[in-house]
Symmetry: none
Subunit: 225 residues, 4 copies
DNA sequence: TATGAATGAGGCTTCATTCAT
DNA sequence: AATGAATGAAGCCTCATTCAT
């Protein structure tokens, strides 16, 4: 509490305090997610306990439960955040595609997923684990909804590209699902033991694969079959 | 003990009995593996307990440990068995490739992995989980050894195809790892929730993707980049 | 929050609360050790389970593991605590010996071990069981280190007594190991079934034995041999 | 079945066969006990399983149970056998004592127990473990009975020695229980970790202790107290 | 509000004993 | 008579979650 030279009493207003609190609260939420993510990547999904998260984050175990209803919710949020990043990037790509760069959407997608393969792989793992978890059913449904709307957008876009003769005339979802599959596989290939672990040029390999992804299904590339 | 119409005494010999016992023992081992596999696919890796396996197989919990040293070993065996099937099929394909059918190896590979995507996916999950498990380190090492030798064979084969101008001239492993990646992704695409689960023509989709896999990297298909 | 008659606000400070918590935690640790000790003496080493300890202590099974890493650690701690008591008492005796009372060290030793034969015997049992247990190897090594330093001190002391002609001139460790052996045996004799269990004058017997221990090896007592 | 040159049929008589059977049966019983003993000493009481015994003995697990009702019974028999050996040796000593060699009984006792300290220690362990085991209560009672009769014999003998002025005039059992205690302790001293394990002259140490045992309580050795 | 001690369900594994062959 | 596969009770330990301070 301070007095100005005019004697006016200056207090942090109640609104200010609430705002500050909210900010701190949000920061802490982010801290928990970040810490969890770090541990998940470092130690593997099975090894990460709520205790470890709290310790690593420098807070109490109880505090974690002030922010998230369960361990599953933390993981679900990591998945959601990742998906949102992905959707946002792909949407940018779709805009670019519609503005005349046919490969932009696919490129954005691959770049987003392959930028941090370890993270991408982790998120796949998490999503798989959470699929049957009733405690995050709502969030999972919401995730799927986002994907569905993305599917519609993609169908639209791909249909136009097919109509313009730029892509092979197969059901539109073939194209983007093949794209998804290739990205998925590209990520996994980075971690395959005993098969892909003997080569150091991962980056170039990923480029090679991404290029397949960006160009596959392009008109004129396929032999008659 | 029976007498035939000639009065000859018919007994089961000791050897017979031992053989029968051994066979039953092996059958039970298979039963455990099969039961485990079924549960893993039905309920997910985390949900399957040794108790559940025993109950489902209709045997005692202790019996499981007469056949396998640990739960991890059962899972490891499932992984090994799958890999052996795969290697065997691919080797057939490689022979065919060397006998004049360039795409045979890749085709065999895709067909093997996509024949039962749920199983393939499960095996990936299991392998990932067992990677850091010291209790199956030996078996895991042996699995990797098999893969390494497969890698050599593939390098050989692909190098020849490159030399003959049938495949793009990139490091040989680009080709089969891209293949691996695509297969991996194709499997995952089948289970992707909220994105790929709205379409029923999985089979055709897999064909589409497999076809990309079989033809990708083939000479003349790639634009200049 | 209370106001004193002077209006001073009295609160329990955060420091106070933390101190209180820590104290309670330590008390519980002691409770677990005490309960375990009681059960071990009452029921025998094999019969005591972590479950039983928890139930008897009126706490949850998990709580035990907040204080000790394993069942073995609880037992190891009991052994260590006992050894510390012993060392501390013997050190007092050694001081007295050096201050002119030659038998004080041996006396202190016997009194310590024979004060509670059942406990002493239990500790021997525990130590024997824990000897090969890798999970407490560190603590066991530390126990041995303490003993080694005690050995040095005793060697020193006995050497001086030999030099002063008070003890027979044999290697110094003969003296204190014979002492150890006799104490050990005296404890066991209390529990020998069918042989020593028919007599009620245990106390006097122990005194008789302890007296042998205190005087054995004293100069002039041994015939020529 | 053989025919002699006179045509007389020679068969092993039923009595012969039964005798042979019995002998084999007894041999096998001994084999099981010996094997068990070997394993107990080599691996420690906790580590020895019935499975291990059967395997090591080269027989089936079920066969073990044809000879002994339970694992506890095998161990009980080992204890009984040892006790019988002990009693037999001490009885020899007592005879010698009565024939004019006062220290012979004590000497026999010490020699018997210290001849194989590892075995002696094991037997103590086993007896302790079996004390509360209801399944061998009968055998245990019988063991105690043997000891009781030994106690009477000893009391007799010691009383005579006291009467002849050869031993200090304390209750007779003081003498032989002190003897027992010292032997017990001498055995344990061989295995004490961190205290007695630094010396190599175990044999001489045991002699030193045994000598104390043989001479302690002898008239004239004790100061006035 | 933040904390972390306490909880206990539930998982994996061992092993003495049984019993069909 | 000998066998060893099968059994399941019982033990140890982990960890998500709660709640008193």
């Amino acid at each position: 509490m301070l007095k100005t030279f005019l004697g006016k009493i200056v207090t942090t207003t109640s609104t200010d305090r609430i705002r500050l609190k909210k900010q701190r609260f949000l920061e802490r939420e982010q801290l928990i997610k970040d810490t969890t993510l770090g541990l998940l990547i470092r130690d593997g999904v099975e090894k990460v306990t709520v205790s470890a998260i709290a310790t690593e984050a420098g807070i109490g175990k109880g505090t974690v439960y002030k922010h998230f209803q369960s361990k599953a919710e933390i993981m679900m949020r990591i998945v959601s955040d990742y998906e949102q990043m992905l959707v946002s990037n792909v949407n940018e790509g779709i805009k670019a595609t519609e503005n005349g760069d046919p490969g932009a959407a696919a490129k954005a997608y691959f770049e987003s997923r392959l930028a941090n393969p370890a993270l991408d792989r982790l998120v796949q793992q998490l999503e798989f684990r959470l699929e049957a978890d009733e405690s995050v059913a709502t969030e999972m449904a919401s995730l799927h909804k986002i994907r569905h709307s993305m599917v519609e957008t993609l169908n639209n876009m791909v249909s136009k590209l097919i109509a313009r003769g730029l892509l092979e005339d197969v059901p539109p979802h073939y194209h983007y699902l093949a794209c998804w599959a290739l990205a998925q596989g590209a990520v996994d290939v980075c971690f395959n033991q005993g098969f892909a672990d003997q080569f150091d040029d991962k980056e170039k390999l990923l480029n090679f694969i991404a290029n397949i992804g960006v160009t596959m299904g392009n008109r004129g590339q396929f032999r008659e079959h």
